[in-house]
């Protein structure tokens, strides 16, 4: 028997932030934001790529337990170690050998270009399924 209204997937969740979002959408978002991990700290290295929000991707490359380099996104400008202003948007957080912030240029405009920048810089081989998951 078909339910009249409000079957599970279309149920409007009384979520205080997203009053219009369906439960399915929220679960999907939560599942995707867990991100993609390759390697293990115990193996000596790992890469984590995850969705910070609908449009922002973050990624971190660590060796041992120490971060070596990360792709970060700030909505506000920041100052790096030497007091030089780094504009808002994507930048590389480099931790080794010298701590610094390098703005990404040109600035990625979408998630595809963020992933392209990551693949290019870290010589990653991303599975198509992982790529789809992050871009979906």
């Amino acid at each position: 028997m078909r339910r009249a209204r409000g079957f599970d997937s279309a149920k409007v969740v009384a979520h205080r932030k997203r009053l219009y979002a369906t439960e399915t959408e929220l679960w999907d978002e939560a599942a995707r934001s867990k991100g993609f991990t390759r390697g293990m700290a115990r193996e000596g290295w790992n890469v984590v790529i995850y969705l910070k929000s609908e449009c922002i991707i973050r990624a971190k490359l660590s060796v041992g337990r120490a971060p070596v380099e990360a792709l970060d996104h700030h909505r506000r400008p920041s100052k790096n170690e030497t007091g030089v202003q780094v504009p808002a948007g994507y930048h590389w957080d480099v931790f080794y050998p010298l701590v610094r912030k390098e703005p990404v240029s040109p600035q990625p405009t979408g998630r595809e270009s963020v992933l392209a920048a990551l693949v290019h810089r870290w010589h990653l081989e991303l599975d198509p399924t992982v790529q789809q998951e992050l871009l979906r």
Partner: protein, 265 residues
């Protein structure tokens, strides 16, 4: 209050007002009160209009993001960490959103200034995690191997192949100076010492040669720094293993065997 002081206050107030006006420029959908985190990042105020007309103010999750990036936290906080974050939020009357990993507060347009200040304050308080966490400097912790661990690993491996090992022993030299070593390995009439040095390569090798000549014992030197190739095979009775982080017990024992066979010939 003296007239000079009131002048100073007026000037300072005008200056601060100007600075605040500059900081208040919108950027990528956010505002800022001009406060910065310890890394120099402006604390953002992200505004979302809710369907019921209220505003949701949050710090966009960037403070937690920075802790993740610098290796002080994992992407998803554990349950215990979440509880602590909630308690921290309670202190400033803001909520912790586990999904967005951000402090947030509900407000109306009129109570926005207060909510924005509380969210910013909580966000800066969270930045203190950097100093309060168990690993205040993750990079340095991970880069410096534990010396006692190294000597223990070497000792274990050496005993398994028939060496008699004395850890952390000083060798007495002919000059009367006692040379500290990580371990001394004895087998029949052969004796080899292992030294670890944090000094520059030339100093470390000089000390190792001094130790070898003074004590008449071959020395395996594990140097913390990278050693130029031209330095590696120059010294007699000294084997140099560059890069402490890379030195394995097996590598060290191979060097010990090489020196032992040379000295017995």
């Amino acid at each position: 209050m003296s007239p000079v002081d009131s002048d100073l206050l007026d000037q300072a107030a005008a200056h601060l007002r100007e600075a605040l006006l500059v900081a208040l420029t919108p950027s990528l959908g956010t505002l800022s009160l001009g406060m910065r985190s310890s890394t120099g990042r402006e604390i953002p105020i992200l505004l979302q209009r809710l369907a019921n007309g209220e505003l949701l103010v949050s710090d966009a999750g960037e403070t937690w993001g920075e802790l993740v990036m610098t290796g002080h936290a994992s992407v998803r906080p554990s349950k215990a960490q979440s509880e602590r974050l909630k308690r921290l939020g309670d202190m400033y009357k803001v909520g912790w959103d586990h999904g967005a990993l951000a402090f947030e507060a509900l407000c109306t347009f009129y109570t926005l200034p207060d909510a924005a200040r509380r969210v910013t304050a909580a966000s800066i308080a969270l930045d203190g995690w950097r100093a309060l966490s168990d690993q205040p400097d993750v990079i340095r912790v991970a880069r410096t191997p534990n010396l006692s661990t190294l000597s223990a690993r070497v000792a274990e491996k050496a005993r398994s192949v028939g060496w008699h090992v004395t850890e952390n022993q000083s060798l007495a030299g002919k000059t009367g100076f006692s040379w500290p070593t990580v371990a001394v390995l004895d087998r029949k009439s052969t004796r080899v010492g292992i030294r670890v040095s944090h000094s520059k390569p030339e100093v470390a090798i000089e000390q190792a040669v001094g130790c070898a000549v003074d004590t008449n014992t071959p020395i395996v030197l594990v140097a913390k720094t990278e050693v130029p190739d031209s330095f590696l095979h120059r010294a007699a009775h000294v084997a140099v293993i560059p890069g402490l982080a890379k030195a394995t017990p097996r590598q060290i024992l191979e060097a010990v065997d090489r020196l032992a066979s040379q000295s017995s010939v």
